[in-house]
């Protein structure tokens, strides 16, 4: 499933790197703990998180996460957007909860990591 399809499915706002929405996603991981994200070995991951800070973007950069979906109506700061543009990470903002986004993506065939 592409990021474009995910954005449409969730009705999420793309706030960084809209040029990368063609990326294919296989897995989703939902966490506010960046320590856990850094242990993932998979690729083609979308990260669902309520942690709207620079470290979320840095963590995505180091672990090759393709996209950050900010849940619970959290907003990406200008600094986060600047870093994500630089590191080629897509950021989307979503009004619903982490649980709701997870349910919708799981239903659509996105795989869990564990």
């Amino acid at each position: 499933m592409t990021l474009q399809q995910i954005a449409e499915l969730l009705n999420a706002r793309v706030v960084a790197r809209p040029d990368k929405l063609y990326r294919d996603i296989s897995f989703a991981f939902a966490s506010d703990l960046m320590s856990d994200v850094l242990t993932l070995e998979q690729r083609k991951i979308i990260l669902l998180t309520g942690l709207a800070n620079i470290q979320a973007v840095r963590t995505a950069e180091m672990s090759d996460v393709s996209c950050i979906l900010l849940v619970r109506n959290k907003k990406a700061s200008p600094e986060m957007i600047r870093l994500a543009e630089e590191a080629a990470i897509v950021i989307m903002e979503y009004d619903g909860s982490m649980f709701k986004a997870s349910g919708i993506l799981y239903n659509a065939g996105i795989q869990p990591i564990y």
Partner: protein, 140 residues
């Protein structure tokens, strides 16, 4: 090629900038992407540990033709029991560090997992030195 960065304790807004710079360099010299990921995850964990737990430190990265050697040394409280600190889930992180998304006690074990050679030495009350080597060959 040797690269050196200064890291300030508590400075979460810049944590990761040194690791990010190394990622750029490794891409330029065409290191395989899974090895880049292992290296930058280990560097970033060690960088965040200085920001989260120490006062200040330096990251020195030596990029050789077949390997990368990183040395992160800091001035800080040190680690009294390294074996205990290496256990998954052991953390003394402050509430502020946890707010930033860290403090699960996964960092040191994750550095171990992502590196070929790891050495940690520490003097309580003075500081900590984390050195590791990663070879640029595909993992067997």
């Amino acid at each position: 090629m040797e690269l050196k960065f200064h890291i300030m304790g508590g400075d979460f807004s810049n944590a990761g900038s040194a690791s990010s710079e190394i990622k750029r360099v490794l891409k330029q010299i065409n290191v395989p992407s899974d090895i880049i990921k292992s290296i930058v995850v280990a560097l970033y964990e060690a960088e965040v540990n200085i920001v989260a737990h120490a006062y200040e430190g330096d990251m020195v990265v030596d990029v050789q033709p077949d390997r990368l050697i990183a040395v992160l040394s800091d001035k800080g409280p040190g680690i009294p029991d390294i074996e205990l600190a290496m256990q998954e889930g052991y953390s003394t992180a402050s509430p502020k560090v946890r707010e930033m998304g860290f403090g699960a006690g996964m960092g040191l074990p994750n550095i171990q997992k992502n590196t070929d050679i790891l050495n940690i030495s520490s003097t309580p009350g003075e500081g900590t030195k984390v050195s590791f080597t990663v070879f640029f060959k595909p993992k067997s």
